[in-house]
Amino acid sequence: MTEVTGRPTAAARRPRPTVANIPRPAPAYAEQATTRELLDRLARLPRGDGHWSALRAEIVRRHLSLVRALAWRFRDRGEDLDDLIQVATLGLLHAVDRFDPDRGAEFTTYATPTIVGELKRHLRDRAGAVRVPRRLQERHAAISRASVDLYQRLGRSPTVHELAAETGLTDEEVLEALEGARAHTTVPLDATDPAESHDTADALDGIEYRAALRPLLDRLPPRDKRILVLRFFAHRTQSEIAAELGISQVQVSRLLTRTLTTLRTALAD
C-alpha cells in the first residue's frame, strides 16, 4: 500500500517520515478487516508509527469515493475539481485522526461534516484572495499557446487581432484575457546561473552609461539584470527574451516593469 495523499498540503500536516514511521504495506489482515476494526486498531497504535501510517492510509483509501462525491458537490464554485479532492482528502485525514471509536458513531457520519467543513473553509479562504475567473484562465492558456505558435510562424510577436483569429475569440476577449494575465501572472523563481551570462556582458561592453547605474545593475538578481540589459542595451524584443529565457512574454514584461521600478527608486535616492 502506498501513500494515498502524496500532495503537499496533506503532506505538510502529516508527521514527518522517519525511519520508524515510513508507512509499511498494510498488513494482510487489513484487507479483510472492517473499517470499524481498523479504526479501533488505529486508535490504540502510537501516532506516527509505520504501522499506524499504513492503517491510516488503508482507511483513507476506503473512503476516497466519499471524498470524491463530497468534492464533486462543490464543483461549481470556480475551483478545480482536483484541488477540491485534495482539500477533501485533507478533511478525511483530520476525521480519521480525530475520530473516537469509543463514542460509537459511524465513521462516515462523523467524517462527512468534517470533510464538508474543510471544503467550505477552503472555498471561503480562496474567496478572499484575488481569483482569476476560470473562463479567463482558460482563455489565457489558449492565448499563450497561440502566441507561441504565431511567434514561431511569423517571426515576430502577434497582434491582438491575429491572436483573436487564431483562438476564435474576439479582439476584446483577447485584450480582456491579456489584461487579467498581466495582473495575475506569477513568475517562476529565478534559477539563472549567478555568473553573468555572455550576452549580458557583451551587451554592456563598450556602452557608456551613468556611473550611478552600474552598481545598481550589479545588485539586481541575475535574471532581472539579464532581461533589462537584453531589452535596453542589446535591443532585443520581449518575445525574443522570453524565448531565450524559457518564460512567457507577459512574464518578461512583468519582470521588466518591476526592475525599472526598482531602478527608478534607487536612482532617485
Binding site: 502566441s147 511569423l154 515576430r156 510577436s157 502577434p158 497582434t159 491582438v160 487581432h161 491572436l163 474576439t170 479582439d171 476584446e172 483577447v174 485584450l175 491579456l178 489584461e179 552609461y209 551613468r210 547605474l213 531589452r231 535596453f232 535591443h235 524584443t237 520581449q238 518575445s239 512574454q249 507577459v250 518578461v252 514584461s253 521588466l256 516593469t257 525599472l260 521600478t261 531602478l263 527608478r264 536612482l267 532617485a268
Partner: protein
C-alpha cells in the same frame, strides 16, 4: 472591434496625479495600441513606457493636481502625451538611463516644460509588418 480609424482620433483621460491611477492609463494604452494592430511586444513596451513617463512626471507634480493623458490615434501611429502641472522641477535629461529606456520602449520621445506644465510625448509607430 471596429476598423482602424482613417483620420486622427483623439482620446483624453484625466486622472488624479497619483500612482494609484496609472493602471487606468496602462489599460487605455493597451486597448488603443491593439486597435492600431500593434504586436504584443509593442503593446507591452508602450504600457511600460507610459508607466515610466508618468512616474517621471509624478515625481515633480504638486499634490492634488491632475495628470492628463492625451492619446492621438492615426493609421499607424499612437502618440501619447502625458502632462502634469509643474512647479519648476526639471525632467530627466536625454542622456539619462530613464530617457534611454523611454526611447527604447516608445521609439520617439520628446518633452517640454513650459506654461506651468511638464509634458512628455511618446510616439510609437507600427512596425511595417
Amino acid at each position: 472591434m471596429a476598423e482602424v480609424a482613417t483620420d486622427e482620433d483623439l482620446v483624453v483621460l484625466t486622472v488624479p496625479a497619483d500612482g494609484a491611477y496609472l493602471s487606468v492609463l496602462r489599460t487605455a494604452t493597451a486597448g488603443l495600441a491593439a486597435r492600431l494592430h500593434f504586436t504584443l511586444d509593442e503593446i507591452e513596451d508602450l504600457r511600460i513606457a507610459v508607466d515610466e513617463a508618468c512616474a517621471m512626471l509624478l515625481a515633480g507634480a504638486p499634490p492634488y493636481t491632475e495628470l492628463t493623458c492625451r492619446f492621438e490615434v492615426t493609421q499607424d501611429t499612437l502618440t501619447v502625451a502625458v502632462s502634469v502641472p509643474n512647479t519648476g522641477q526639471r525632467l530627466p535629461g536625454t542622456e539619462t538611463f530613464a530617457w534611454m529606456v523611454l526611447t527604447a520602449l516608445a521609439g520617439s520621445v520628446t518633452s517640454d516644460v513650459s506654461d506651468g506644465h511638464a509634458t512628455i510625448w511618446l510616439t510609437k509607430k507600427r512596425d511595417g509588418t
